[in-house]
Symmetry: C2
Subunit: 120 residues, 2 copies
DNA sequence: CACTTATATAAGGGTTCACTGATATAGTTG
DNA sequence: CAACTATATCAGTGAACCCTTATATAAGTG
């Protein structure tokens, strides 16, 4: 399943949004999602499986619970795919700022201690 | 159809990649896509319709041809949605650089992501 | 106008997906 | 071990999606 397909489902997007705030147990997710979308525990569990199997989430057992957390790998892939379109909405940011934003070379920020002259 | 669903299809992603290079006619797209994916002209046309109807592409008639172009609006929405996960792969960029990169206006644009309450 | 080229729509079929209810696994506790 | 809690899996069903072939619209050309 492609990363975009995984994110095509609103339940899975919401789960990731929740996990963005930190680890959560399957049960806690079931509660919120069940409330918001009106779907059953197996329904949520199946979505968690999709997130797991596609690298969007990791799981860590703790006693009888299972703690889920975001794995940002596939999200980063999507971010990278979007690169080729960024020029459509960030007309001409100077290269340094773009580089910074992408995070390709965070180190350079320290070296060049300047305050990047903004041209927004 | 949600933006992520639109991008879930590899043919539509490829069409957008091609359009990222500049306007193209339906015919030219049919040729490349037909070649690469082995699908028919109506197949491609239907994908173009999806892209149009969901705001990913604009069309402009020129004689008997139709010129397609990228409309980056929905892509920007996706980029904005990814914001909440960026900290996972851009450890700690200072706020200024991030703000610069995102484009200050992008922030104001939209933050709302509908999380429907379904009625069973 | 008849003909051709460029593109879109229509109708139908096969496949995939997301749900539900029932059940299985696994850890915890009496 | 038995009972309970937390979570995952199974089997089945209805809907959505993407493709195909056939056909429609529309503009240019003799």
């Amino acid at each position: 399943m492609h990363a975009f397909d995984v994110l095509g489902d609103p339940v899975r997007r919401r789960i990731l949004e929740l996990l963005a705030g930190g680890e959560m147990t399957s049960g806690a997710l079931c509660e919120v999602i069940g409330e918001e979308f009106g779907i059953s525990q197996p329904g949520v569990s199946q979505h968690l499986k999709v997130l797991r199997e596609n690298g969007f989430a990791t799981v860590r057992p703790e006693g009888t619970r299972r703690l889920y957390a975001v794995d940002a790998g596939p999200l980063q892939d999507i971010d990278a795919w979007l690169d080729r379109f960024r020029r459509f909405w960030t007309p001409h940011l100077d290269a340094l700022a773009t580089e910074l934003a992408r995070g390709k070379r965070a180190r350079r920020l320290r070296d060049a201690d300047e305050t990047p002259r903004s041209t927004p």
